[in-house]
């Protein structure tokens, strides 16, 4: 939680991302490719051989169960790594689906390891990326388990805005690449509940919609999202 990650001045995260891209380019043979919304980078059951780093674009990670349930369990942005889940069993356990046009860098896992032994900084970045993923997943669980629906939506927006800010991008007006149904799936609620939550957030002036369309969301003040979330959890723990 970097107190206030201002945009357009390199944050720790931004530096880490550019270092990663640079080191990969220098030391690991890889393939660059353009993907479009809907493209599947890999899916559950695929044999694991390669890792990927997102140079631009957005991905969603979908986890399925044998009885047909499935859920969006992760979102990926520029600089994020994809495919870690395959290392353990040699097969992927989830699908990675592009939700916008973007560029993906792919390289063999064993080539990465070879490069890491020559360039310890790359190893450090690799491990840090896996570690971050674990921390991120745990934060998702915390939100899923402890926040009421409205606060989960607010937390989702806060996370998205934070992620953009980290990368030096504008975050006062974000364009969601997900439908209400996908957001709902990610947050463990129905699309109607997402819609209602957004309406309430707008009514509370925490977010704002543009004149036309409700796909973009304006966030005048990220702090207001924090405040809203705390207000939700506070009412749950009233006097008593």
């Amino acid at each position: 939680m970097s107190a206030t990650a201002e945009r357009n001045q390199p944050t720790d995260a931004a530096r880490q991302i550019s270092d990663t891209l640079q080191l990969l380019q220098q030391h690991v043979p890889m393939q660059r490719r353009i993907v479009h919304a809907g493209d599947r980078l890999f899916q559950a059951g695929d044999r694991f051989t390669t890792l990927h780093v997102l140079n631009s674009g957005f991905f969603k990670i979908v986890n399925g169960s044998n009885d047909g349930r499935e859920q969006v369990v992760g979102l990926n942005f520029k600089g994020d790594w994809l495919g870690f889940d395959g290392i353990a069993l040699g097969r992927h356990g989830c699908d990675a689906v592009a939700i916008d046009t973007g560029e993906i860098w792919s390289f063999r896992y064993d080539d990465l390891l070879a490069a890491c032994s020559r360039e310890p900084r790359l190893m450090a970045l690799f491990h840090a990326a896996m570690s971050r993923e674990i921390g991120r997943d745990r934060d998702s669980m915390l939100a899923l388990a402890t926040l009421p629906a409205d606060a989960r939506v607010a937390d989702f927006l806060r996370y998205w805005a934070h992620t953009l800010a980290e990368r030096g991008l504008r975050n006062d007006c974000i364009t969601l690449r997900l439908t209400r149904a996908e957001i709902g799936n990610y947050l463990g609620m129905t699309l109607e509940s997402v819609s209602r939550a957004l309406s309430r957030l707008a009514r509370a002036s925490v977010i704002r919609f543009p004149e036309k369309g409700r796909r973009d969301i304006q966030i005048p003040e990220v702090g207001a999202l924090h405040a809203f979330i705390e207000r939700c959890t506070a009412t749950a723990a009233v006097v008593h």
Copy 2:
């Protein structure tokens, strides 16, 4: 998902665990220590320097938020690694608390890296452990977001039984080291709901309680838990 992990014959997981313990012992300078229920291995904010592997006992991982919410986001068993979350930022983001007496092996992260460069098999096991953690967290999210309360409890028992079986231990009668409140916290529900869910599971003969005490839980047939979970999700998706 190894089809049927029979106990008392070494599974993949069991072999991996013994390999890990053996390689660590041979190549990494480390400290062995006994911990007791309630002991804290590390907590959020602590500077990260060392990783840990559980040689015996049970741990819970507790994640907190700045506004006071906290949740059990992970459970650890023999052979599991602890501390991955600290690598990214150099500080831990959660607490690791022992929930039973056990033995923990601790070693410096940089010592591990040095050993890994000499012994690639250790590196592979290290990466596999992180990868497994990610996959496991995603399964937790899936359960939290898509299963009704009763099914979440059944899934929790299924996971616990499966984990014991993987390690070659009896899993037809498991002793929960967690209170109803802790289980509820882990599953995103109240302790009363956990209690009711267990009662319903017992009424449906999916589990059984011993004559005295309700801390132990007998699971005559693990498959029955699967069936129960599917029955729960099926009723949600009726004809239509």
